[in-house]
Amino acid sequence: MKKTLFDKVWDAHVVDAIEDGPQILYIDQHLIHEVTSPQAFNELENRGIPIFRPQQVTASADHNTPTQNQHLPIKDERSRKQLQQLSQNCKKNGITLYNLGHKYNGIVHVIAPELGITQPGMTIVCGDSHTSTHGAFGAIAFGIGTSQVAQVFASQCLLQTKPKSLRVTVNGTLKKGVLPKDVILYIISKLGTNSGTGYFCEYAGDVFKNMSMEGRMTVCNMSIEMGARGGMIAPDETTFDYIKNRKFAPKGKALEQKLAYWKTLATDEGAAFDKEYFFDANDIAPMITYGTNPGMGIKITETIPKINTPSFEKSLAYMNFKKGESLINQAVNYVFIGSCTNSRIEDFRIAAHFIKGKNKATNVTAWLVPGSKQVETQIIEEGLKDIFTKAGFELRQPGCSACLAMNDDKIPEGEYCMSTSNRNFEGRQGQGARTILASPLVAAATAIEGKIIDPTKYLSDVFV
């Protein structure tokens, strides 16, 4: 039978099936962080159950960490306690933790690929919905709740009903200044926020074939924003080149064996999907969102649609936007480049390339938050920090930061923030904050202008 990439990886991990119920799925890698793990550790401890495979668990502190003065004790008592709890739990159970300040610390979805923990053909879970990021490597990766974190702790398995399959194909060549973030915002704007619910999505076609690993991660990251548990891209030479030589990647003969297997994972020609969508790369342009869910997106040059439903109107009222209006020249006072969607080195290179030689608008507060310590180091070593500092941007230390505003990085009430993160929900970046989602290029351009512009007009010929 012809199989999809998803089928191949899924079927290789089924331990057992329950009659007219879910299957028992084996989990290769379990990533944890401070916010969704403490109750799971408690649960196991209360029931006297040991952690089954601690060596298959990796922990990082990311959601609740400060992005300044990470060497000092954390001021917020409850945040400090949560991090202490994570350290204690990891220590007690023999789990590797990349704690605040560690050279490998960062957002779980940035560090696991960076360290070669994420590999094709794996099953990966984390108590975080953006675990879908790792699907960029041809892994089945999805977010789970804390009860499920406890289940994986106890058995390295999960009870799961096999989702349906969905494929999104984008063929053609992307126009200058159109980034992976625009591709996924475009797809979600076309399909809506619940089109993927119950499905696992594969991204196929020229656009993804020609995309870097960083770009593929940006795309897979936001699969959850159309409701899909995860997204996947077939592993190829780009994937293999990225993995080779990373800390936990297989080496030598082991690598050769793995490569031979990884090459068999791509979807068989003619395999059937439950749902398929096709898009043309030529129709994609730089995108922004105007509402309070990620499906409410338009090309930056378009106007806000005129939809007459209470939910739509409630959303526009929150954003203080009007139906039919263009957002070009809309003043924006905050810019955030960061989050597991866009905080990898490539994102900062793109931003730096645009910013170089220009100055940040005086009305704008701009935070650049790398996804990991390694990205931070690279930014400094490549000289990008100098470009940013000269232009008036603030480079902070790694973490989730203003993506969810659990730490001090909050956008004030009523302010607009041009953000490279993944969610524009009400209050996501702070109570009453208004989030506009966009690519790092659009964010950088907004920071320079202090208002929304179409950056493609300003790009030199050499630009991506």
């Binding site: 057992d16 408690n42 499920q148 106890a154 398995c157 009870l159 926020t193 619940n194 619910t197």
Partner: protein, 200 residues
């Protein structure tokens, strides 16, 4: 986990679509390392103004409505995987959430906490919302065994779907950990067969 078979209760109508987990429980309340106590902050930013005054326009603050059932708009629970959303809803006192569509992770989290997600057709959802808004005393009967939701004393009734394994778990108050642990031998055999580098 508490057992669930049937429930007869009044319901609170929340006619908003795409209620995301950041609305159900905002991130700033996720700093607790316990499972309890989240109920006081459920829908925090809709229930209270920024200066902590009660927002009397929000349905949860309308004394006319009460009950252990929340009837909500399409695509309830989208967004993050935070189980705190399910904990906050149960801690507040909800036992059932009715919507025409649920986000995947939220649905699993709810089921793992004995909070029953009942998915109805958009038409039936509209009937429910209208009836409750009109007559707040309306009672809904949820029968998990028969998999039905009924507007009490009327012929408005719909069948709902639920995975039969999960149904058994809810009716008996079982959770998945116990079940998975009972499969330990199969899991060990799987690891051995697939050559996981684990000391057996």
């Amino acid at each position: 986990m508490e057992k669930f078979t049937t429930l007869l209760s009044r319901a609170i109508p929340l006619a908003i679509e795409n209620v995301d987990t950041d609305q159900i429980i905002p991130a700033r309340f996720l700093k607790s390392i316990q499972k309890n106590g989240f109920g006081k902050n459920v829908f925090r930013d809709w229930r209270y103004h920024k200066d902590h005054r009660i927002n009397s326009n929000f349905i949860l603050n309308n004394a006319a409505y009460s009950g252990k059932i929340l009837v909500a708009g399409n695509n309830f629970g989208c967004g993050s995987s935070r189980e705190h959303a399910a904990w906050a809803l149960t801690d507040y006192g909800f036992k059932v959430i009715v919507s025409s569509f649920f986000a995947d992770i939220f649905k699993e989290n709810a089921l793992n906490n004995g909070l029953l997600p009942v998915q109805v057709t958009p038409e039936f959802l509209k009937v429910l919302l209208d009836k409750i808004e009109e007559t707040p005393e309306t009672q809904l009967e949820i029968n998990l065994v028969a998999q039905t939701i009924t507007v009490e004393g009327t012929s408005f009734k719909e069948h709902f779907a639920i995975n039969s394994y999960k149904k058994r778990c809810l009716i008996n108050g079982y959770d998945d950990i116990g079940f998975l642990l009972s499969k330990k031998n199969k899991i060990l055999a799987f690891e051995r067969q697939k050559g996981y580098p684990i000391d057996h």
